[in-house]
Structure formats: C-alpha cells, structure tokens
C-alpha cells in the first residue's frame, strides 16, 4: 500500500501558481527525493505534505487517509509525520535527550528511555543525552535532528535540504549513514535537495521539479539515461545536445545518421536535439567522424575533453586518462550507445 499519494496537487500564493497538478506515489520504505533548482516549488511541496501549506486543489493521502484537499488541511500535529529542518531547528533550551523525547512525551518513562538509548545508538551519539545543542558540531546536530524526528516512529519522514550546511566530505558520509539508518528502520522518506549527487546517493525515487511542475518521477538511472524533458536532461548530469533532423533512417547529425527508436515519435523533417552524455562518446581510429581536441581537464581517472565537430558544435566527452591526447589533435569518434533521447528543437534554446 502506498504510504504517500499526491493527486493533482496545486498550490498558489495570491496570483502566482507555485505547484501545478503534481501527482506521485511512494511505497513503504522507499526514500524519495525532490530535486530542482531553487524556486522550483520543491520546499513548498514538502511543506504541503507536512501540512504547513493548504492546497488550492488536488489531494494528499497517506495510506488512504486524506491529509489535505482544497477545503481540508489536517493539522500538522495530527499527521504523524516527522521532519528534519534545513537548520535542524533543535530546541536550544532543551538538552539532547529532552529534544529527542519531545515528540514521545506521552510514553512511559522507561519506554522513553529505551527509545532514547536506541536512537542515540543508531545515530552513534551515545552519552550525549545531557548535552545541549550548541555544544555539538553541525554533523552531530544533524543526526540528533534525525533522531528526534524518528522518535515517534512517524509514518513518513520529511527532510528539508538536510545537508545544505555541511561541507562536501561530510555530506557524502552523512548521506550514506542516514540512508542506512532509514533503510534499517524501514522509514518512508521524502527529501528535498538541489544537489543531484545527494539525490543519487540517497534516493530510490527522484522527482525533478521545475517551475511548479513535476517533470519526471523515476529512479536515478532512468532519469539519467531516459530524461523525459530537455530540462531534466540538462539538470541531471552533464549533457551535450547535437542538432539533428529526422530522416527515414533515423536522425541526421554532425556525427552522422544515428538510428534510434526514439525517432519514431517524430515525423520526417522535424528538427530535434539529441542528448549525448559525455561517456557515450568513444574514440575510434577507424571512424570517419573526426573531431578536434579543443581543451582538456584532468579528472583523475578521466580527462574531460572538449571536442569540436566539423559542424562547429562542441561536445564534452569523458575519456580514460591512461592515454593522453594533444590539443589540436584530430581524433575519430563514435557513439557507444543507441539509447538516445531526442527533444524537439525548440524545447532547449540553450545548451
């Protein structure tokens, strides 16, 4: 049974439409991530799920219980939803133990103590119960905030940009730790971020939002390789777009005529853009398609080369750093995949 169902959720501030008919479902134990640039509406959506915002139309349900609709908003405190805030929002006047037990105050003392110990152990902060929030580091506060939100065993956990105040290194380790905690407890989670790497390392399902629209709701691999819109293609991962024209044989581009099933949804003569991920391109001595190496960036195991095609279009490609090519050198290239995504030409004015 789906723990969270959004059905055509719309929300507006005065005359500005912030969320536009968003629908999605989340199964028990799944971790979902709402990804998008700032101002896309992802935080608003999270707050609508939490019950801090009322809907204009549509419905939010949890296991068949109606949480929000146009004329009904179940108060946050009755939703059994946990939330970790961007700034953690720990209560500075309460100790760590009191913070964690804040949501389970009605339980018996022994139960509370047991849960507290369990959670502190889970987040690896045993012995911190009597400290105060300001005595902890950012990462520790983060984990306490998580423990506090998990204490009442919520049906759904919401995380609002949980790693935004951490440095890159800490983000990586914390994301891994928290994913394993969430999976261990089998907690259904919705997280908001603008960082795709965070989304990739945490989420089972990712929803990409832009301008109040949910553009795609998929797993990470599908998002990367089969983006449904040019925006998703551009927002997730690195992308090159080649100009193309649909022909009987496939798509005609500066890299030759590429045959792909994706061309079937277009009619002959249509102008399209072809998504070429950097790792789709490989060198081939035998290839007739020649490109000039324009620039090069060392990336450890790989070089990120910029290639210029005869058409003048540039491609960024990722090539092993075992071989080193000189700038200005001309190389033969081929596409290593036939899994191409095509978008109408007018859908991505910029690359």
């Amino acid at each position: 049974m789906s723990v969270l169902t959004l059905d055509k959720v719309s929300l507006a501030y005065q005359d500005k439409q912030v969320l536009n008919e968003i629908s999605l479902t989340l199964e028990e134990g799944e971790i979902a991530c709402l990804l998008g640039p700032s101002g896309c509406g992802k935080t608003t959506l999270l707050r609508a799920i939490a019950g801090f915002k009322s809907l204009q139309s549509g419905e939010i349900k949890s296991s068949q219980h109606l949480l929000s609709s146009a004329n009904h908003t179940l108060p946050t405190e009755k939703r059994n939803i946990g939330m970790v805030f961007q700034d953690f929002a720990l209560f500075p006047h309460l100790s760590i133990g009191q913070n964690i037990c804040f949501g389970i105050r009605h339980q018996k003392k022994a139960e509370k103590q047991a849960r507290l110990n369990e959670l502190l152990e889970l987040v690896g902060l045993q012995g911190y119960a009597n400290r105060y929030p300001h005595e902890l580091s950012g990462g520790q506060q983060q984990r306490i905030a998580l423990a506090r939100a998990m204490a009442p065993r919520p049906r759904l956990l919401l995380l609002d940009e949980p790693f935004s105040s951490m440095d890159v290194e800490l983000r990586g380790t914390l994301a891994k730790e928290i994913r394993s905690i969430l999976k261990h407890e089998n907690i259904t989670t919705v997280m908001v971020t603008h960082d795709q790497h965070e989304a990739f390392s945490m989420a089972d399902k990712i929803g990409v939002l832009n301008d109040g629209h949910l553009l795609q709701w998929d797993d990470a691999r599908m998002l990367y390789h089969y983006p449904k819109t040019a925006f998703v293609a551009r927002f997730v991962g690195r992308s090159n777009f080649l100009e193309g024209t649909i022909t009987e044989q496939g798509v005609e581009t500066a890299m030759g005529v590429l045959s792909t099933t994706a061309a079937e949804s277009f009619s002959s003569g249509d102008k399209v853009k072809v998504l070429v991920r950097p790792e789709y391109v490989q060198l081939s001595v035998s290839s007739a398609i020649q490109a000039e190496l324009v620039s090069r960036q060392f990336r450890g195991g790989y070089y990120m080369y910029t290639l210029q095609l005869s058409s003048g279009e540039q491609l960024q490609v990722l090539l092993s750093s075992l071989a080193k090519h000189q700038l200005g050198e001309s190389v033969g290239i081929v596409l290593s995949t036939d899994r191409l995504s095509l978008f109408p030409s007018d859908s991505c004015a910029t690359t």
Partner: protein
C-alpha cells in the same frame, strides 16, 4: 587581555562602572552601620507586614504583567485579526502613564464617591454597605494599577522575542505532535523566557521602587516602610538599611533566575530566520483576540487618559498658565539629555562587560543596574552624599591653596539630577543594549578587529549600525521613564526649576486631583510620541522574511 592599552582602558571602565554603582553602594554601605533600637520596633510590629505585602504585590504584578504582556505579545506577533496593526503599537501606550497618576484617575472613577458607584447607586437605589464593589484603594487595586502600566515592558520584550524566533523551531514542534498552542507553551514560551524575565524584572523593580501608588492606596510595603522610618522615626540609617534589605531581595531573585538557566541557551541555534505567515483568525477566535488585546489599552490608557482630559478641560483656565510651556520644555529637555547620557554609559558598560568580562566590571555593572529597584528618593540620597563630599573636598582644597571658595560645584545642579537619572535608569538601558549585543556574534567582533578596528571602532562601525533599533529602544525607554520620574527630581533639582511631574505631584499631594490633570496629561502626551517611535523601532528590528 594582554594588550597594555586595553589594560589601561579596562581600569577606566571599572572606574566608570563603580561611579555608576556608587549611589547604590552608598545605600548598601549603611548595612555596615550598627543596627539601632528602631530595628527591634520594625521587627516586632512592621517587618512581617512589609515583607508579606511586598511579596503579595510582586506576585500579583507578576501574574498581571505576564498574563497581559505575554498573551498580547503572542497574539500580535503570530496571529492576524481585526485591529492587530493598531493594537500592536497602542499596547505600549500605558507606558506613558506614571503609576501614581493612573492610581489617582482610577480612584476618581471607581471610588465610592466616584461616577461609577454613584451611578450604580442611583440606578439601583443601593446605599453604602448594601452592595459589594471592588475597593480600588487596596493591595489588589495597587496590583491592578501597577500591572496596567508595567505590562508593556513584558509585552515589548516578549513580542521582540516572538518575532525573532526561528519559525522552523515552532514547525518542528508541530511535526512532533504539538498543536500551535502546545507549541507556544512548550517551545515559544520557554525560548522567550530570558526576554520575558527581562521585562518582568523591569516591572518588578519598578514595583518595588513605587511609593506614590502604594502610599496613596494605604498599602504598607518596604518602600512606604523606608519612608516611614526615615520621615516618621527620623532615622535615615535604618531607612537605608531597609533599602539594602530590599536590594538583597532583588539580588536573590536575579541570582535564582540565572541559576535556573544554567547551561541551556535561548538564542536560536539557526542562523536562517524565516518569517512564517501569521495565523489568520476568523469568527469568535478573532473577536476574542481583538478583545483581549484591546482591554489592556482601554484600561491602561484610554480610561485614565480620558479622565485626565476631563480634569484638564474643567480646570483649563487656571492650569494652562504661561509657565506651562517652561515646565514642558524642562521635562522634555531633561528627559532627552538623561536618555542620551544613560544610553552612552549603558553602551560603554555593556560593551566592556562583553569585551573584558572581568568580575570587577561585571560586578559593578550588576550593582549599578540594581538602582532601578531603589526608590528614587533613596537613590537621590545616594547621589547627594558623594557629590556633597566631592564639593566640600574641592572647596576645602581650593580655599587652602588658592584662597578661593568654590562653593557647591555639583550639588543642586542639573549635573546631579542627570547623574541620578543615569544611575536609576541605567538598568533599563543596559537591559535593552545587552539584548541587542546578544544578537551580534563574537565572530563579527573578531572580523572587525582583524580588519584593523579598535574595540571602540568595532562598537561604532559594526555594533551601532546593527543595534540602531535597540539603542533607540533604550533611549526612548529612559526618556519616558525620566519624564515620569518624580522623587529624585523633587529633591535634587536646582532653584526655580520645575518639571511636569513636579507640578502634577504638587497639585495631587495637595489633594487637588483635577488640577493635577493638565500636567499629567502633558506627561502622557510627551510620552506618547516616543512610545509610538518605540513601536516603530521594534517593528523595524524584526527579521525579514526569507524567500520560498
């Protein structure tokens, strides 16, 4: 501090701190004198009553100012209801009315012979003793009067705290299963506690220092006891000893509160403050919100101000004389100068406390701050004693070496008066300035110093611009307080120098309440402008809402 220059400066600060603390220390010093036989008399007959009445008064005022101040502050800062904008600044208006004046006006309105009871008797044909009516001139009446004019301190502080609270903390409490009201009780209120306590302590110190109201209502408290011992028994030593007992009372309260806070911090741990939307109230809740925010304004301001206006109109021909302009100018000028001086010293001392933090500095600031709880007349004596000593010493020295007699250089001048105000109202300004300084992170100081600013440069270039709002608040609070101040003005002012408060007192103490109306109304009028400015300053200080 290892810097030699700062080392020297710290001595200056200690010196200034001690100077400010001097009058209070003089009062405390009387404890060292032997206790005389009057103490036995006080102990046998009166002390118990003084203590119990003072405690009841404090307890009552605590309940009064907390309930009025916190409820109105919460409603106006987090809810939207009809009249909210108007009420959010008019709730500060009672601050402009001196406690003794509100006591006079309510006595005029509610006394047995007053219009309310007379009307009731006329309507229902009652006679004395046949019906129950609350006795205004009682300890309960004193609690009501003091609460009505002192709750704005709590309102002001609590409101600022509520407006500054990180919204996500309140939302976190809701995701943990608390209703907005539970969140208020369990998170917002505890977080606002230091601010509320600050407001409460100002209100309580003023309660303890109040003489006019309790004396008029026939309630015997520590303060009336001090005056009775001094005036009636002609024993200023025992009177000062009583005053120091009062001060230790205050000191214990302050220490208890500090202890109860210990490790817990109250400023928000987040740095991103986000303004949530106000809860829009409709129907009955909106009605109750409007009503509960209107009542303090109606009873604390509109009714007494109308009574004063009525009195003023009935006596206009002989009260509005030409010297009325002089009185008003004197009052406003004195209040303005004292406000600037007190806030300058408050800035200096708060800053020194933060920068140096030596026990000497902290101690002298703490002692100086207690001046607010000391009745004005007692502070005045504490001011006169050292000044007279300085005057006589200088005079003697000049006479001895130069044959010139300098007479009284400081005593009986406006200098003495302003010194007294500074000492008495330092607490108010320090509380406000401290609150502002608390918002500035120590790292900002470090950044300023690393960019080549001196400590005073940090104060001027970094702190002052950030704290403009709080400094303005401090200025206006002292201004209004000085405007209302009576006892110290009365005893310390120079020849031919009168203020509105003096005029109002002279009329009222001659039992000519109606004639006291005009100067009282003028005090209130002169106080309203800064009070309105004050509310603007508070509104400005609130954080801007973040996007999304």
């Amino acid at each position: 501090m290892h810097n030699g220059l700062i080392g020297i400066r710290s001595w200056w600060v200690v010196l200034i701190g001690l100077l400010m603390a001097l009058p209070v220390l003089v009062v405390l010093g009387f404890v060292l004198q032997p206790f005389n036989q009057n103490w036995q008399h006080l102990y046998d007959n009166l002390l118990g009553e003084y203590i119990s009445n003072s405690l009841i008064l404090m307890l009552g005022v605590t309940v009064g100012v907390l309930s009025m101040g916190i409820i109105t502050a919460w409603l106006t800062s987090t809810c939207e209801f009809p009249g909210r904008r108007l009420l959010s600044w008019s709730l500060l208006l009672p601050l402009a009315i001196p406690a003794y004046i509100i006591a006079y006006t309510y006595t005029g309105v509610l006394d047995f012979a007053g219009p309310v009871q007379s009307q009731l008797r006329e309507w229902f044909g009652w006679r004395y003793g046949q019906y129950w009516f609350p006795e205004i001139r009682s300890i309960g009446g004193a609690v009501a009067m003091l609460s009505l004019v002192l709750y704005p301190y709590v309102y002001m502080m609590a409101r600022a705290a509520f407006l500054e609270q990180s919204v996500s903390v309140l939302e976190a409490s809701r995701t943990l299963g608390n209703t907005p009201f539970q969140g208020f009780m369990r998170v917002a209120l505890p977080l606002a506690r230091p601010a509320i306590i600050t407001g409460l302590s100002l209100a309580l110190m003023e309660t303890l220092a109040d003489y006019g109201t309790v004396q008029y209502f026939g309630v015997t408290t520590f303060t009336t006891g001090i005056f009775r011992t001094w005036y009636g028994l002609d024993d200023s030593v025992s009177a000062a000893q009583l005053a120091s007992l009062l001060l230790s009372f205050v000191a214990i309260l302050i220490l208890l509160e500090r202890y109860s806070r210990r490790k817990a911090r109250f400023h928000s741990t987040s740095n991103k403050e986000q303004r949530g939307q106000r809860y829009t109230l409709k129907g009955w809740p909106a009605f109750w919100a409007t009503l509960s925010c209107s009542l303090p304004v109606i009873f604390g301001f509109l009714i007494p101000a109308s009574q004063l206006l009525y009195w003023t109109l009935t006596t206009a021909q002989h009260t509005f004389t030409s010297d009325f302009v002089v009185l008003t100018t004197n009052s406003v000028m004195l209040a303005a100068i004292a406000a600037v001086v007190a806030v300058c010293f408050a800035l200096l001392l708060s800053y020194a406390k933060r920068l140096l933090g030596t026990p000497m500095v902290k101690g002298s600031v703490a002692v100086a701050s207690m001046g607010y709880a000391v009745p004005g007349t007692v502070i005045a004596v504490g001011v006169m004693l050292p000044l007279a000593w300085i005057d006589h010493t200088i005079d003697q020295w000049l006479t001895e070496y130069f044959g010139i007699s300098s007479g009284l250089l400081l005593s009986g001048t406006l200098f003495a008066l302003i010194f007294a105000y500074t000492v008495r109202f330092l607490s108010v300004s320090i509380q406000a300035v401290d609150a502002g300084l608390g918002k500035i992170k120590p790292s900002m100081d470090d950044a300023g110093r690393s960019l080549g600013l001196s400590p005073f440069g940090v104060l001027r270039k970094i702190h002052l611009p950030i704290m403009k709002g709080t400094v303005l608040t401090a200025l206006l609070l002292v201004f209004v307080d000085v405007l209302k101040e009576l006892p110290a003005t009365l005893i310390l002012r120079p020849f031919n120098f009168n203020t509105l408060a003096v005029r109002a007192y002279e009329m009222a103490s001659d039992e000519r309440l109606a004639d006291a109306g005009a100067p009282s109304l003028m005090i209130v009028m002169a106080g309203i402008i800064p009070v309105i400015l004050l509310s603007k300053a508070i509104a400005k200080a609130r954080p801007r809402g973040a996007a999304e």
